[in-house]
Amino acid sequence: MILLELFYVFFFIGLLTIGGGYAMIPMIKDEVVARGWMSLEELLNFFAIAESTPGPFAVNTATMVGFSQAGIIGAIVATLSVVLPSFIIILIIAKCITNFLKYKQVKWALDGVKPIVTGLIIGVVLNLIVNNVLGLTKVLDLFDKPLLIEAVDYMSLAIMITMFLVKMKFKQLNPIFMIIISAILGILIYGVML
């Protein structure tokens, strides 16, 4: 019943994504990795592809995760599920509530959820650093697993910091360009230098 599972996982992701595609990353990570559908590394590969292909990030990721679990049918089910909440909610608003933005509760809820999403995304980044650089699966492993000094990947950390600083400096820089540069750096560092 993987299709049913794909349906409700992505329906909830669509329902609770507030503030654009990247806001869904913590939830996708939580659901997809915890269900054993894929590792954090594989998911990160997907994010890279979703970022470097046209179309909404959320739709790209849903299609890819769906395909990996149940082929083309899976891709269709996951994509339609992630889109459905948006579609229904907006239809209701467009049809019935002309002055939706006048409700102050909407703004209040958003003001509460945005800091929460920020914290969640920072949490994902910490997990990614622990995963990419230290070779552990999650932040909590820091407390109960021995750290292998020889397994630490300083190069990954270096690329991460460089790319972050580049993006901070040149905000308009196309992420695809950054992804290509990082791919070349990866080949040079891991394939040629090391």
Binding site: L16, T17, G19, G20, G21, Y22, K29, E31, L44, N45, A48, I49, A50, E51, T53, G55, P56, A58, V59, T63, M64, A75, T79, V82, V83, S86, F87, I89, I90, K95, F100, A109, D111, G112, K114, I116, T118, G119, L120, I121, I122, G123, L126, L128, N132, K138, L140, S156, I159, M160, F164, K167, N174, P175, I179, I181, S182, A183, I184, G191
Partner: protein, 190 residues
């Protein structure tokens, strides 16, 4: 009928040619809907974007559904949404078919090691972008820390943490409003 077909094709184009998700689509949608087709006024467009941003869901889909509804009611929104997601679905499905095999090459693995580091940087940058759009109060920063601790230390499910965020946003402001009200009342009495 002709309008709906035109809507579908326009959103198909937007879906196929914008990189970087919903926010990158907004200028393109604005150009097509307001300047070229003159289906919407600039004010209507601004309202639509504000609503799309403040409702849950995929931003691009929210915008497409809303614009579609304005122009062609239910079927307008249906075809606008279908148009905006169809290119992604097709392109990603094709890539997915080949991706597994692609990852078997040694140099592709190295390239993706670099790419994953870059994606982590992009995600961190996205967090800072969202942080720009909430009120800079001590309460907001406390919520950032609460979410961080709840997710990575307590390992609470993300869904619950987000629902908590929505609730705490409303409840805290209601309390603030109540306090202001009672303060005003006591001042009146004095």
């Amino acid at each position: 009928m002709k309008e709906i077909l035109s809507l579908f094709i326009t959103f198909l184009k937007i879906g196929a040619f914008t990189f970087g998700g919903g926010y990158a689509m907004i200028p393109l949608i604005q150009h097509e809907m307001v300047e070229k087709k003159k289906w919407l006024t600039n004010e209507e467009m601004v309202d639509i974007i504000a609503i799309a941003e403040s409702t849950p869901g995929v931003l691009a889909v929210n915008t497409a559904t809303f614009v579609g509804y304005k122009i062609g009611k239910f079927w307008g929104s249906f075809f606008a949404t279908l148009g905006v997601i169809l290119p992604s679905m097709i392109i990603i499905t094709i890539i997915s078919v080949f991706f597994e095999d692609f990852l078997k090459y040694e140099y592709v693995i190295y390239a993706f090691k670099g790419i994953r580091a870059c994606v982590a940087a992009l995600i961190l940058h996205a967090a800072l972008r969202i942080a720009k759009h909430f009120p800079k109060t001590a309460f907001s920063y406390i919520l950032v820390v609460v979410a961080l601790v709840a997710s990575i230390i307590l390992q609470i499910r993300t869904t619950y943490i987000i629902l908590f965020g929505l609730a705490i946003g409303i409840v805290s402001q209601m309390i603030v409003a109540k306090i202001k009200q009672s303060k005003a009342k006591t001042e009146e009495k004095l």
